[in-house]
């Protein structure tokens, strides 16, 4: 972000306008995001009655309940596994498709636009669509592949179904970001590489990849955060089943608060869920983005 020094402006007016302009955004977010979040932290230490009214102080009882609930523990493992597998496949497939599309000079833009729709659909639409496609009797997937599999009712097929629907939905994002980055690499770099006697692989490794690194890091981080919010898709695709094996962290948090109406437990689950997501984001940030700013390669 470029910090601009305005030389000929009087300082007090500058400060007034600055804060006047950011005030609506900051105040709104403080009121409807930060305050609720802090309130949830607070609420997580209290019991609630069934009418949703604040009860007695409960210490860490809510947290103890959440952390010893095997459905919640499994939801944590499932969500983390889901994020790792789907996002990795989306990244690699997206990179491959972007390189493919980039080779179609004239039809490049058309191919990109035709790739976009899934990521703009509601996760609910994606979930419903794949629920039909994967249906054991009436779905097209079993019919076309010759498999005879109960995708929704049996593991590991239900895991696979959730991952496949996510890959369908989100690979286009990587394709979009990578094709626009690839398009922005000047041709002269490749010309120079050829003159220097680089082969195709060397040109990818030493010219294309370094240019893609920033895009990969940022997209991966944003996608990771988004993937952690998995809920609507599984709600309609598998309804959390079979059993509760595809219940995600967000879904379990929802169940505590709004199916069982334990707002205290729900708040504690929300805090744990947020914390897991934050730790994962930090790990990825350190591994990718931190390195990006300290490394010296141009």
């Amino acid at each position: 972000m470029s910090t601009v020094s305005y030389t000929d402006i009087d300082w007090s007016r500058r400060r007034t306008i600055t804060w006047l302009f950011v005030a609506p955004a900051v105040v709104t977010l403080l009121a409807i995001a930060i305050y609720p979040f802090l309130k949830m932290l607070y609420d997580s230490f209290f019991a609630f009655n069934s009418a949703g009214q604040l009860g007695p102080f409960a210490g860490v009882a809510n947290y103890a309940y959440v952390l010893t609930d095997h459905v919640f523990d499994h939801a944590t493992l499932f969500t983390v596994g889901f994020v790792i597998v789907s996002v990795s496949v989306e990244l690699l497939l997206g990179l491959g498709v972007a390189l493919l599309i980039d080779s179609f000079g004239r039809f490049r833009q058309a191919l990109v636009v035709l790739s976009l729709p899934p990521m703009m659909f509601s996760p609910i639409v994606t979930g419903l669509t794949w629920r039909m496609l994967l249906n054991g009797t009436y779905g097209i997937v079993n019919y076309w592949t010759g498999l005879n599999v109960d995708w929704i009712g049996h593991q590991p097929w239900a895991y696979l179904g959730v991952v496949v629907s996510d890959i369908w939905m989100w690979t286009p994002l990587f394709v979009l970001v990578f094709t626009s980055t690839l398009h922005s690499i000047p041709d002269v770099y490749y010309e120079a590489g050829k003159i220097d006697g680089m082969n195709r692989w060397q040109r990818f490794k030493w010219i294309t990849f370094p240019q893609l690194r920033t895009a990969i890091a940022i997209t991966l981080l944003l996608r990771l955060i988004r993937a952690f919010k998995l809920f609507p898709k599984v709600r309609v695709l598998t309804s959390g089943g079979p059993g509760s094996s595809t219940v995600s962290l967000a879904m379990r948090t929802y169940q505590y608060a709004f199916s069982f109406f334990h707002l205290g437990t729900g708040s504690a689950a929300g805090v744990v869920y947020w914390f897991v997501m934050l730790v994962a984001a930090m790990i990825v940030f350190r591994a990718l983005v931190g390195d990006l700013f300290t490394s010296t390669e141009g």
Partner: protein, 279 residues
């Protein structure tokens, strides 16, 4: 991929392979969409074995859907999405201008706004639910519009920041030297220059809200405020599976998005590729 270091014969082979791969990719993307489309039109949407293209076509599912109250949900979605997008864009444009030009709080304000991404919607919506109960905002458009600002403001600010960065400060300074006021300069020079950015931010914000499910699920309870995603999810949770109506409803939900995608592809591509992802 350049192929000039290959013989013409193998170049043809490489070209052919690439075309086949690209077609396979497009099939993977579009077959599920086509599936929904044909379910909505099929007289018998569920057959064993399944017919991707049905033998007999009908519009009866659309008719049942439209006379069965679905339009109420479309109306709710349209009102909530439009209002919340407009508010988000106005608030975010001001904030992004200020952040880009003056960087208030040395980057703290920017980090604060962008850090909102890290709050999962379900974690915000539990306390929001309790607050809204007190203010009688549950099951109302207003409640949902307010809740969606937590999504809309951070996303639009992020996109607008990138567009403001491209407007040279020198341009503004020239106007001030000519005696224009700050607000005049902003209105007549800066805003027209970032108009494409505003369009990009608005499209992406609107798509996010149109599709939002988690908050709507918690904050609305009847069809006086429930949105399209809630109606769609009802096919699994309350109404039982009706593939014909489900396909038809899905098509109605995604048609505005596909139309926008094709009409405004440049703005959309710019917005999405800059923004990286939605939140």
């Amino acid at each position: 991929m350049d192929t000039d270091d290959l013989t013409s014969y193998s170049r043809l082979f490489v070209r052919g392979t690439l075309v086949v791969l690209a077609l396979a990719w497009l099939c993977w993307i579009w077959i599920p969409v086509g599936w929904d489309f044909f379910r909505g039109l099929a007289v018998h949407p569920q057959t064993a074995p399944p017919h991707f293209v049905p033998h007999q076509l009908t519009l009866v599912h659309y008719q049942q859907l439209l006379t069965g109250g679905f339009l109420t949900y479309v109306r709710n979605s349209a009102i909530v999405t439009t209002t919340s997008t407009v508010i988000s864009i106005v608030v975010a444009t001001l904030a992004a201008y200020s952040i880009n030009r003056y960087n208030p709080g040395d980057g703290q304000v920017m980090m604060f706004i962008l850090g909102m991404r890290f709050l999962p919607p379900i974690a915000v919506v539990i306390p929001l639910y309790m607050m809204f109960l007190k203010f009688h905002l549950i099951d109302s458009w207003y409640g949902l519009i307010v809740a969606y600002l937590t999504i809309g403001i951070p996303i639009s600010t992020w996109i607008m920041l990138i567009f403001f960065r491209r407007v040279p400060v020198a341009l503004e300074e020239a106007c001030w030297i000519d005696g224009w006021s700050r607000l005049q300069t902003l209105r007549r020079v800066v805003l027209p220059l970032v108009a494409p950015g505003i369009a990009s931010a608005a499209i992406i914000t609107a798509i996010l809200m149109w599709n939002e499910y988690t908050m709507a699920l918690v904050l609305t309870t009847t069809n006086s405020a429930q949105t399209i995603p809630i109606y769609l999810a009802g096919f699994v949770t309350t109404r039982g599976i009706l593939w014909g109506q489900m396909g038809a409803a899905t098509m109605i939900a995604i048609t505005p998005i596909i139309v926008i995608a094709f009409l405004l592809q440049e703005r959309l591509v710019a917005g999405f590729s800059l923004e990286g992802s939605d939140g």
